[in-house]
C-alpha cells in the first residue's frame, strides 16, 4: 500500500516476528487460550530477543524502536496470539510510555531497566480520565497515600513485577508506581477473550503509595493521562488489526479448501462478499493504525488518528471475527479452528480500558473544543 512504506529496519523486525510467531506461538496459542495461562516462558523468549521492551530507549537497555515498528510487532503477534500481543502492548504503551515521558530521571532508570530485563509492568484500569472511582478509597498522609478498595481490571496484573495505578486525590487524579505486589489480593476472572493475557482484578487493603513513587502528579495529570490513553489506543488498534487480518486469512484458506455443491465455497458470491467486506474494513483500519504511528514517530499530533484507528480497527476485528465464523459454518463454532478465539479476543480488545462509546465521546469533545 502506497501510504504505508516500511523502511528496511521495520521490514526486518516484521520478518523476525513472523518467524517467531510461526515457530513459537502458533503451536501453543490455542492451548494457552484454553487454559488461561500467562505465557511466562514466551515472554522470556521475546525479552531475550529484545522484543519485550520495544520502545524503551537504548540507554536503559531497551530495543529503542519507533512506534511504527511497535505496531508491526503487535500486529504480527496478534495474528497468531492476541494475548501475548496484549501483554507487550500494555508493557510498552501503558507502562513504558508514561515512565519514559513523564517520570523523574531516577525513576526512569529504575523501572525502564526492569522492563528491559523482561519484567512485567501492569496497569490498573479505572473508570476514565476525569471520573472518581467509587470502588477506591484514598487517604492522603504527609506525601504518601493509603489506598483501599479494588480495581476490577489490571492489565498484565497476574504476574506483574510492578504496576501503575491511578488514584484520585483531592486536587485531581495522579499516577503512582508500586512494587508491593505482595500486599495485593488478586481477583481472578474468566474473561471472554485474551484469556492468557493475565487480566485480573486487584484488591487493596491500606496499600501505601510512597510520595516518591508518584509518576504523574495530580496537577498535570489530566492532560497527560489523555496522551497516555491516545498512545495506548495506537497499540490496541494494532492488536485489533492483527486479529482481523488473521480472521480474514483463515477465511480465505478455509473457503478455498471447503467444498459444497461441487465446488470450493470461495466460488460463491455470498462468500466472496464476506471476504471483501472483511478486507475493506481491514485495509481502512491498517491505514489509520500506521498513520497514527507515523504521526507519532514524526512528532506530529497523533491524538485524532490514534483514536480513529482504535474505533475502526476495533470494529474491523469484531466484524471479521463474526464473519470468519460464518465463513467456516459449523466448523467456525468449534475449537478445532482458531476463528472462534479470534472473535473472543477481538471483542475483548475492543472494550479494554476505553469502550467505543466512551472513546467516541472523548473524540467528539476534542473535535468540538
Amino acid at each position: 500500500m502506497a501510504l504505508i512504506a516500511f523502511n528496511s529496519e521495520q521490514k526486518l523486525i516484521q520478518g523476525e516476528v513472523r518467524k517467531f510467531s510461526r515457530t513459537e506461538l502458533e503451536p501453543i496459542a490455542g492451548d494457552i487460550d484454553k487454559n488461561g495461562v500467562f505465557p511466562v516462558e514466551i515472554i522470556k523468549k521475546l525479552s531475550d530477543l529484545g522484543l519485550s521492551s520495544l520502545i524503551v530507549p537504548e540507554k536503559f537497555n531497551g530495543a529503542d524502536i519507533d512506534t511504527t515498528s511497535l505496531c508491526i510487532v503487535l500486529e504480527e503477534l496478534s495474528k497468531v496470539c492476541a494475548s501475548i500481543s496484549n501483554i507487550l502492548a500494555v508493557n510498552n504503551c501503558l507502562v513504558a510510555f508514561p515512565i519514559m515521558n513523564y517520570a523523574p530521571e531516577q525513576m526512569k532508570e529504575h523501572y525502564l531497566k526492569k522492563l528491559a530485563q523482561g519484567e512485567i509492568g501492569a496497569y490498573s484500569v479505572d473508570l476514565g480520565i476525569d471520573a472518581p472511582d467509587a470502588n477506591i478509597n484514598v487517604t492522603e498522609t504527609d506525601g504518601d497515600c493509603l489506598v483501599s478498595g479494588r480495581h476490577d481490571f489490571v492489565l498484565n496484573g497476574e504476574t506483574a513485577n510492578f504496576f501503575i495505578l491511578p488514584v484520585c486525590l483531592t486536587n485531581g487524579k495522579a499516577l503512582y508506581l508500586c512494587e508491593d505486589t505482595a500486599g495485593i489480593q488478586q481477583i481472578k476472572h474468566q474473561i471472554l477473550g485474551m484469556r492468557a493475557a493475565g487480566i485480573v482484578g486487584f484488591e487493596y487493603k491500606d496499600l501505601r503509595l510512597m510520595g516518591d513513587k508518584c509518576l504523574l502528579s495530580a496537577d498535570k495529570a489530566v492532560h497527560l493521562l489523555k496522551k497516555i490513553q491516545d498512545y495506548s489506543n495506537i497499540g490496541f488498534s494494532a492488536i485489533s488489526l492483527g486479529i482481523a487480518q488473521a480472521a480474514f486469512d483463515a477465511s480465505v484458506k478455509y473457503s478455498k479448501e471447503r467444498r459444497q455443491f461441487g465446488r470450493a465455497i470461495c466460488e460463491f458470491p455470498m462468500v466472496q462478499e464476506m471476504l471483501v467486506d472483511m478486507k475493506t474494513r481491514i485495509e481502512a483500519a491498517r491505514l489509520f493504525v500506521y498513520d497514527a504511528a507515523a504521526k507519532f514517530d514524526k512528532g506530529q499530533d497523533y491524538s485524532l488518528s490514534a483514536n480513529i484507528a482504535r474505533l475502526i480497527s476495533g470494529d474491523a476485528a469484531v466484524f471479521s471475527g463474526i464473519t470468519a465464523i460464518q465463513v467456516h459454518g459449523g466448523y467456525g463454532y468449534i475449537k478445532d479452528y482458531p476463528v472462534e478465539r479470534f472473535l473472543r479476543d477481538a471483542k475483548t480488545v475492543q472494550v479494554l480500558q476505553e469502550p467505543p462509546h466512551d472513546l467516541k465521546s472523548r473524540i467528539a469533545k476534542e473535535l468540538l473544543s
Partner: protein
C-alpha cells in the same frame, strides 16, 4: 405485541419457570459444560417438549406460537436449555409427527412428546453442511433391513438422544432423490455417538458425532417414503427455523434485559448510565430491532398454525432474528464495558450462544437463498 389471553397466560407460566428454575442454572451449565438433565425432566413435567403435538400423541395440544414463545422465554435466560428444547421439539418430535406412520407415532412420538425419550436429528455430515444433498451416509436395503454406514457431525443432543432421525442415501451420486429419512434407536448395534464438540457457546448443550458402521435398521424404521428424505428434512427445517429464530430472539432479549439492569444500577462519573444519550441510543436500537424480530417470528408461527405457507416467513424470521441478535449481544458487552467480558454478567455468554443462531439449521446465507427463491422464483 398483542397476544390472546391464552398465549399471555402461557408466556407467564414459561417465564416463571425460566426465571425461577432455568436462570439459576444457566451460568453453571455454561462454565461446567453440563447437560441440564434436571431441566429436561422439569420441561417434560410442564409439558413443554411437544407443545404443538395433539394430546393423543403425548403433546400439550397447544400450537406453534406457544412453542415459539416457550423457546424465546427459555432462551432469554439460557441458550443451552433453549437449544435443547428447540432441537428436541423441532428436530426430534416434528419429523415423526409430520411424516411418521401410526405405528411410528405410537412407538416413538409418544415417548418423545412426553419427554420419556430424548430426540435428535442427524442431517449434517463432515462434508455435507449447507449442501445437504451431498449426504454420503449410505443406507442399502438388504432383505428386511437397511444397512447404514457413515458419519454425522454437529448433531445437537446426539449422544444423549434415545431416538434419532437421520438421513442417508441409496447412492451418494443420486443427490436429493437418493436420500431417505430413518429412525434409529440408541443402543442399536453398529450405531454409536462419537466425539463431542468443544464449542464457542451453548456449552450446556451437547453436540456430537454419530457413527454408523454396518448398522442394521429394520425396514419399518424408514420415515416417509423411500427417496423422500429431502421432503422430510425440508419440512423439518422450515419449522425448525421458527424455533431457532425464537431462540435468537430470546437470547437477544436476555442481552437487552441485562443491559437495562446494568445501566439502571450503574453510574459513570457520578451520573447514572441511563442518563447517557449514547447508552440510550444503543438500548433503543436493540429494543426496536428485537421487537421487529418478534413480529416476524410470531407471524411465521401463526402462519404455520393456520396451515398457510410459511417457508419465506420462517426464513426471514430466522435470518433477521439471528442477525439483530448478534448485534444486540455484541452491543450488550459494549454497554457493560470490561465487566461484560466476565462471568459476573451473562452478556458474554449470550454473545457466544447467539453466534450459532446464524449457522444452525441453515446458515444466514442459505436463508437468504430461500427468501430470494420465494420472491424471485426458481
Amino acid at each position: 405485541m398483542i397476544l390472546h389471553e391464552k398465549h399471555k397466560k402461557f408466556r407467564q407460566k414459561v417465564k416463571d419457570f425460566a426465571d425461577n428454575e432455568v436462570a439459576p442454572r444457566a451460568k453453571e451449565l455454561d462454565i461446567k459444560h453440563e447437560f441440564p438433565w434436571d431441566l429436561v425432566k422439569r420441561m417434560a413435567e410442564l409439558e413443554l417438549l411437544a407443545l404443538y403435538v395433539p394430546k393423543e400423541y403425548g403433546g400439550a395440544g397447544f400450537d406453534v406460537l406457544s412453542y415459539a414463545i416457550a423457546v424465546e422465554e427459555i432462551g432469554r435466560v439460557c441458550g443451552s436449555t433453549g437449544i435443547f428444547l428447540a432441537a428436541h421439539s423441532s428436530l426430534g418430535v416434528y419429523p415423526i409427527f409430520v411424516a411418521g406412520t401410526e405405528e411410528q407415532k405410537q412407538k416413538y412420538l409418544i415417548p418423545l412428546a412426553r419427554g420419556e425419550k430424548i430426540g435428535s436429528f442427524g442431517l449434517t455430515e463432515p462434508n455435507a453442511g449447507s449442501d445437504a444433498a451431498g449426504t454420503q451416509t449410505t443406507a442399502k436395503l438388504v432383505g428386511d433391513e437397511y444397512v447404514v454406514n457413515g458419519t454425522k457431525r454437529f448433531i445437537t443432543s446426539g449422544s444423549v438422544a434415545d431416538i434419532i432421525i437421520f438421513t442417508a442415501t441409496k447412492d451418494p451420486a443420486m443427490g436429493y432423490p437418493g436420500i431417505s429419512a430413518f429412525i434409529v434407536e440408541k443402543g442399536t448395534p453398529g450405531f454409536s455417538s462419537g466425539n463431542e464438540e468443544d464449542k464457542l457457546g451453548l456449552l450446556g448443550s451437547i453436540t456430537s458425532e454419530l457413527v454408523f458402521e454396518d448398522c442394521k435398521i429394520p425396514k419399518e424404521n424408514l420415515l416417509g417414503k423411500e427417496g423422500e428424505g429431502f421432503k422430510v428434512f425440508m419440512a423439518t427445517l422450515d419449522g425448525g427455523r421458527i424455533s431457532i429464530g425464537a431462540l435468537a430472539l430470546g437470547i437477544a432479549q436476555g442481552a437487552l434485559d441485562a443491559s437495562v439492569k446494568f445501566v439502571q444500577e450503574n453510574k459513570r462519573s457520578g451520573k447514572p448510565l441511563k442518563k447517557s444519550q449514547s447508552i440510550q441510543s444503543m438500548i433503543a436500537e436493540m429494543a426496536t430491532e428485537i421487537e421487529a424480530a418478534r413480529l416476524l417470528i410470531y407471524q411465521a408461527a401463526m402462519l404455520k398454525d393456520h396451515d398457510m405457507p410459511y417457508t419465506k416467513e420462517s426464513a426471514m424470521a430466522k435470518y433477521y432474528a439471528s442477525h439483530i441478535g448478534m448485534k444486540a449481544t455484541d452491543m450488550a458487552i459494549t454497554i457493560h464495558g470490561m465487566l461484560g467480558l466476565t462471568k459476573a454478567y451473562p452478556v458474554e455468554r449470550f454473545m457466544r450462544d447467539e453466534k450459532l443462531m446464524e449457522i444452525g439449521e441453515g446458515t444466514s446465507e442459505i436463508q437468504k437463498i430461500v427468501i430470494a427463491r420465494e420472491i424471485l422464483g426458481k
